[in-house]
């Protein structure tokens, strides 16, 4: 479980003063991202993988496959599972132990964005109907947490899926083939800092900020997943503003992923 940091009153005050001048501590604009890079095929033992770095935030996502028996009511559909490991490697504030509410929320929000976009057709995962189907496991693993792990994990997850190979040979069921991935859902996260929402909050802004909104968009700006986290209330017009920012940023990131 993540430790409970003392409420950083001074930090909040500082961030509010910056916000009043329409500034951020690291000089970025409200909707501006930190430096971002995506690499795929970086994990030797995974069937698909990606490394995402956003500023000093670094994550790996690995795709592994297992064979399972399908559910009786969906005999020709495979499975999808998303796991988030926030190991204490990635930050002073992360404590060892069973999954924290934070990591459970991250896993579920990343999972919903992928799942609800329909980018994986679970029927493509059928091996023998009623007997054997593939389960896709998306393992998100943090190396360095300087804020906005949600977006880093979501981006690494969709990039790793695009990079993944169904390991038929290892399981003696035919040749290896690329995992079919039909779409590129993208998550954008916004946090209220100093009274206004900003995109891609770093850890300092997370500590001194209020509520967070996660938006996952697919093609044609269709919404696939939303999540509001943390304490705070927001208005309809605030939401409309970040939805516009999300539409623009998701399109940019989609291009990056699709070009890998």
């Amino acid at each position: 479980m993540m430790g409970q940091p003392l409420v950083p009153t001074l930090l909040r005050k500082h961030l509010a003063e910056l916000a009043a001048r329409d500034e951020r501590a690291d000089g970025r604009g409200r909707w501006e991202s930190r430096d971002l890079s995506v690499e795929v095929g970086v994990l030797e033992r995974a069937e698909g993988s990606a490394k995402v770095q956003i500023g000093d935030t670094i994550v790996f996502t690995g795709i592994k496959f297992q064979i399972q028996t399908p559910y009786p009511d969906r005999p020709d559909e495979g499975g999808l599972m998303t796991s988030v490991e926030l190991r204490p490697l990635a930050g002073r504030h992360i404590e060892p132990g069973p999954p924290s509410p934070e990591s459970i929320e991250m896993a579920r929000v990343v999972d919903r964005g992928i799942r609800e976009s329909g980018c994986i057709d679970t029927k493509d995962l059928c091996i023998i109907a009623g007997e054997k189907v593939w389960q896709v496991i998306i393992d998100c693993f943090a190396i360095s947490d300087d804020g906005n792990l949600f977006d880093a994990f979501a981006l690494a997850a969709i990039a790793a899926l695009h990079n993944a190979t169904l390991p038929g040979e290892r399981f003696d069921i035919g040749e290896d083939r690329p995992l079919p991935v039909n779409k590129t859902p993208i998550m954008c996260s916004f946090q209220k800092v100093g009274g206004r929402f900003v995109y891609d909050a770093n850890r300092e802004e997370e500590l001194g900020g209020d509520e967070r909104i996660h938006i996952t968009l697919g093609g044609d700006d269709h919404v696939h997943s939303l999540q509001k986290g943390l304490k705070g209330a927001f208005t309809a017009s605030e939401f409309a503003e970040i939805m516009d920012a999300a539409k623009q940023r998701c399109a940019e990131l989609k291009k990056i992923v699709d070009s890998l």
């Binding site: 409970q4 459970i104 609800e116 939303l226």
Partner: protein, 240 residues
Amino acid sequence: MGYGDVQMIDEKGNRVDGRKAGDLRPIEIEMGVVPVADGSASVRWGTNYVIASIYGPMEAHPRKIQRQERAVLDVRYNMAPFSTTDRFRPGFNRRSREISKVTAEALESVVLLELYPRSKIRVEIEVICAEAGTRCVGLTAASLALADAGIPMTDLVVSVASGKINDVVVCDLNKEEDNYGEADLPMGILPNSGELVFLQMDGDLSPEQFQEAWDYNMNAAMEIHVMMKEAIANKYGGES
């Protein structure tokens, strides 16, 4: 998602249980249902049946959860083992953990926590019968129970979800509709300011559909708010 071949709305716009697109299921509120608690309420909503109870403010322990300048909310959402058709196995559950977290964060946005430094307020939400939309029913019941306990809040929280079936946006999916639902948009609304303290969504909504679902929720929240105020007035003989 997308079992488009099952027709859930007829040509006249009537839903399987006879409701129109914007209609809510029947809702029944009861205050003070847990005699030993500091506050409590139950909400029956369709065949959902949820009980919430409040204990506190009390000393926060263990110490490490204490906050110098405010109270902490300790919120638990849980499904009773007999609340679902297949028995619901007690124990750790990722879905319940997530719902507890976002419910807590919604309530923290309205409770005047600064009034009770170093203390803890326990919010217990138990789903006794589950239909569809239990997280909304639970959040609504919890806000009523907090009112019953006399905990000061800036506003009640009204929670309701709209969704999509057969590519049509409708309000407050029932269980049958939920099975074929193509999207779900639960919100937690402050009826006096119109602000949101809770928001989730999954599925697929075009920008226009999204706006439609949003508006259904806003209207439904006002309707439910009236019932909530009535239930409180019935017990305390005044307006909340």
